[in-house]
Point group: C3
Chain length 261, copies 3
């Protein structure tokens, strides 16, 4: 990642991740017996990270009319697909890397609703592309209710994406988000008001979007740019610029290093 805002990326090899998470959880069980049954059922009882994540997500999305057992199998099968697995592993590592409040890999797996919401979207997007639109919409709806993140299943999201805090994030049908994007809570990638077609933002790689920013219409935000908290972006943002204000104006990132949304 060559964007100036990036934190250190000397992170764990993906192969060791599941082993490291189990070690973290075993330590937590020893120091906090009250959590042991919770940690056993969500992590230690499972053979793989895909199985653990499927169990966690299925238990969060189940409802009276939608039993966890049905969801569990669907999630497990889908999370095992190479592209989906690569996506959720990169998201988990990205969150650990970028969020200074995330001190264990297992914290992201167990506790981050932004991480959970993206993984539900990855499953929903896969189903949507296969024509299983009703099931995809049900997952979108339950994710909006459970995690307060409303992403249309047609939206395309890259790898290594972090939704920090996540409450109120909205992404429309034709939105595209590149790799290594971070966004805070209350971010909207919304429509232009056109009644159909390509009407949502295209976010480049390595972009950072501050809390409460609203990006509207089929605009392009260039690689490695930032959008300031509370900004309203209605036009393209070139690469390596900061967009700030209501409506936003673009300022080159060079010369304002150290700033942050």
């Amino acid at each position: 990642n060559d964007c100036s805002w990036a934190w250190d990326d000397h992170y764990l090899e993906k192969d060791n991740l599941w082993e490291t998470i189990r070690e973290e959880i075993e330590r937590d069980c020893a120091t906090e017996p009250m959590l042991s049954s919770f940690l056993f059922s969500t992590v230690l009882a499972h053979a793989t990270i895909e199985e653990s994540l499927a169990f966690i997500l299925a238990n969060k999305l189940e409802s009276t009319v939608l039993p966890a057992t049905q969801l569990l199998q669907l999630f497990h099968e889908t999370l095992m697909l190479d592209e989906i697995r690569a996506g959720f592993l990169a998201d988990l590592l990205a969150t650990y890397d970028r969020d200074p409040a995330c001190k264990q890999y297992s914290s992201c797996l167990l506790f981050y609703k932004g991480f959970h919401a993206i993984q539900i979207h990855r499953v929903a997007h896969h189903l949507y592309k296969k024509g299983r639109v009703g099931l995809a919409m049900l997952l979108q709806s339950r994710s909006s209710e459970t995690f307060h993140v409303d992403i249309h299943p047609a939206a395309r999201i890259g790898k290594g994406v972090m939704l920090d805090h996540a409450t109120g994030v909205v992404m429309g049908e034709s939105a595209v988000v590149g790799d290594n994007v971070s966004m805070l809570h209350h971010v909207t990638l919304g429509g232009s008001g056109k009644s159909a077609g390509d009407r949502h933002p295209k976010i480049g790689s390595g972009v950072l979007i501050g809390a409460g920013a609203v990006v509207l219409g089929n605009v392009r935000v260039g690689n490695c740019s930032k959008i300031g908290a509370g900004s309203v972006v209605l036009a393209d943002v070139p690469p390596r610029h900061v967009a700030v204000g209501v409506p936003a104006r673009n300022i080159p990132l060079s010369g304002i290093s150290g700033s942050s949304p």
Copy 2:
């Protein structure tokens, strides 16, 4: 509807709506067997749209200390009242009409938390007017927890109203919303800081309010006006104007056709 922002209104006759929804759901059951028990229990098992909607809402609002069976009867009885029925039918048609991502009538009925939250408000408002304030407040509270929409039961809301995405919408005690209003997520119709009395906004018919807009105090927003995303409105907006900025300034809609919050 004579507002310039309105989409096509050649929509389904209300009489055919329930029949059409059942046909959509029967097709969905055939193509997605995994959904069949969910779709049967929420739609096909019911004789009327009021019974189906009551079942859907009761299952979403129930909790350990509040069984669905109690809520089911209350919702069913209230949704059968002429004024409430006219309200929810108009909201459903409005959402189908205005949201390009809503491709079936049944999607709104099953999946749109903004639609669900307004219908809970319609029930709560009816109870509140009858003096059943405690029950109305319980519904407000559960709706805020479940749908992330916090509408005081005294607020008055017209017909054909759409809350798109809906997360974080707040409307105060003396707020009034006209017919055919659309609002995006994170919209606040908030108080002026006065300790009591008439202190919340009055929104005219056909108004469109963009994501994250905050309207504060006993101000009037005229018919067919728009409020831009992220705007803070502290004064009246005349009819057919756009209010944009922090604080918002008013611009006549004539001459800026095609723009959208």
Copy 3:
């Protein structure tokens, strides 16, 4: 409280609060039989306000993998601690005092998710200081899912704090909030982008923060100041000033009495 925005503070003595709440609930049971089992299980069945609040919170935070019985004992023990009890009693009185829509003490106890979220934070903060970080993070996570309020367990919050509507409130690891602070929904006390250390806002006593305001970085907001709705605050706000705009500018409160975020 000597801040100009404060409402009347001739409120109930704390000693009478539980007795008053039980009287309110007994009246509600008589007028609304449909609520009687709900009101009995949440309030009347309990000997003390701590026991009632612990029951309410445990039932809201439980999940398939986290039974209410375990949470109940933990919450009850912690709410009995002098400092925690003083905090939640002051918050309850503050909400009754400041929110004109709150007409009974019991309404806050039963229905206000902002009140519930602060009390979960008080428990989580207590556990965090004792080194029980995993349990504290679990409570933060469940509170974010259930109440849509994401407060890091290390954040320090004073007494008499009200989160009105509360959806989307976020407070980071090194945030500090003084006594008698009120904040509306969608308020962010966020990080400066530094990767660690003291990077979140310090909010003085008696401050009022409007809906959707974003305060970023290790800045100080002075006692009795106000932050306008939708403002983005990136620098210190002196005592008795109003910060408004994106980015916010500071205006002395003297001379603009009567204004309100």
